[in-house]
């Protein structure tokens, strides 16, 4: 079974470490904030100028001046700080954020990522994604492994305009966790009940399959 959104978020959260400053993209990455283990503290960076982003506000707490990069109303945790966009991207580009998690349309086995436009169809803009992928050493892409029609999004070479070149080392899809090493995907874990064959079939880029590919384990 392909991972649910919640399971994706849960698996991503296992990459968190105590003391990490983390930038979470819109969607599934944001959900991961709900799965921080109790004995661990992480601080969330929002590229519009927050270090120490908290959960959504209670109805009576809503403040139009406190939003995240997805323009959602949020709160600040104790110890939060606010800064300008240039200071925020100095922080990101300078490599001070420990972990970045973001979505994508396509990735390829060269570590390229495409996530910001589909020519002729969709032009939303890259927002902060290009800075995030070039500033971070430690990036996890979360995405669906293939389209509903079974067309792989893990390619030999991205077909869409790139967001970043050679910067992605780890991908979590609804089917598998993969590393990108030496120009190929390496299958590390598979979703519960998903066979290696199924993943091989839906991966268009070069793929190395180690002898052991453990299933992910989720507490219920």
């Amino acid at each position: 079974m392909a991972l649910t959104r919640e399971q994706l978020a849960q698996r991503v959260s296992k990459e968190f470490k105590d003391g990490y400053y983390i930038n979470l993209g819109i969607g599934i990455p944001t959900l991961a904030a709900n799965y921080v283990p109790e004995d661990m503290q992480v601080v969330l960076q929002s590229e519009n100028g927050i270090l120490g982003m908290g959960p959504f506000p209670l109805d009576e707490e809503v403040d139009a001046d406190i939003i995240n990069a997805g323009k959602q109303t949020v709160t600040l945790i104790k110890g939060a700080s606010i800064f300008s966009s240039s200071d925020s991207f100095a922080m990101i580009r300078g490599g001070h954020v420990d972990l970045t998690i973001l979505g994508a349309f396509e990735v390829d086995c060269q570590g390229n990522i495409a996530s910001y436009m589909i020519p002729g169809k969709l032009i939303k803009g890259m927002g902060g994604a290009m800075d995030l992928v070039s500033g971070a050493d430690n990036i996890i892409v979360t995405m669906t492994h293939a389209s509903k029609d079974g067309v792989s999004k893990l390619l030999k070479e991205c077909t869409l305009p790139l967001t970043g070149k050679g910067c992605i080392k780890r991908v979590l899809t609804d089917l598998a966790l993969l590393d990108i090493e030496d120009g190929r995907f390496v299958l590390r874990e598979r979703a519960p009940g998903v066979s290696v064959d199924e993943i091989v079939k839906l991966t268009a880029g070069d793929l190395e399959v180690p002898k052991e590919v453990p299933e992910m384990i989720f507490e219920t």
Binding site: N48, Q72, S86, S88, M126, G127, D131, G164, K165
Partner: protein
């Protein structure tokens, strides 16, 4: 002794000197911390052929999006153009030229424009459409592209509190692009929620010194929210 009094009293005066074809650098992120009334005044004036540098272009109903319906904008320099149907249409039709610029690069280009730095190298956008036609150079084994500074004929911005000298304090994430935008305009116009007495702001806590501000005006703000997300207890 009026040399340092930046306060003006009408929006007409605020945007005085703005003419067709000028470049405006605007603060704001989404609808957060945007110079609401300065944008409305530009709409009222009907100035055309504008180039606008701003992270986003507002929504159809609010912010810079208001300038789209009368076709006042020739070109937009922005990182994100979602959440604005009219904008997307005008862009797809080729009515508006769009220079998609990564958010961090845009912020740094504005800062550079105000700071006398004509150009800088950045890793952002190397090997992507953003890097096309730009110089690539290697430093310490990594590749970077050259990005040039951005300056405007006007900059428009929104702050929280300001004093007569133009010293400014921003509030929460309404800070965003506002400080850099202000530094990068030949004439900078700032709307604030409150004008305080000179000396009321702690010198250590001023976010942007008054030297960057040419005109200051007090406004009352709608502060529209794009995504009102809440949790239940």
């Amino acid at each position: 002794m009026s040399g340092f009094n930046k306060v003006i009293n009408s929006y007409e005066e605020a945007m005085n000197g703005l003419v067709d074809g000028m470049t405006i650098i605007s603060g704001g992120f989404g609808l957060c911390g945007i110079p609401e009334h300065l944008i409305k005044e530009i709409k009222r004036k009907g100035t055309k052929e504008l180039t606008i540098a701003s992270n986003n272009c507002g929504t159809d109903e609010h912010g810079l999006g208001l300038l789209l319906s009368d076709h006042q904008i020739k070109k937009v320099i922005a990182s994100y153009v979602g959440e604005n149907a009219l904008f997307e249409t005008q862009m797809m039709n080729g009515e508006i030229e769009v220079d998609l610029t990564p958010q961090g690069t845009l912020a740094e280009k504005m800062r550079a424009g105000g700071a006398g730095i004509p150009a800088f190298y950045t890793p952002t956008g190397y090997g992507t459409p953003v890097g096309e036609g730009k110089e690539v150079r290697e430093f310490n084994g990594r590749k970077y592209i050259l990005e040039e500074a951005l300056q405007g004929d006007f900059s428009i911005a929104k702050a929280w509190k300001g004093d007569r000298h133009g010293n400014l304090i921003f509030r929460r994430t309404a800070r965003n692009f506002n400080p850099m935008a202000i530094t990068a305009g030949k004439i900078s116009v700032v709307e604030v929620e409150e004008i305080v007495e000179v000396g009321d702001l702690d010198p250590d806590q001023i976010h942007l010194p008054g030297i960057y501000v040419d005109r200051l005006i007090k406004g009352t703000f709608e502060k529209n929210i794009e995504q009102r997300t809440i949790r239940s207890s």
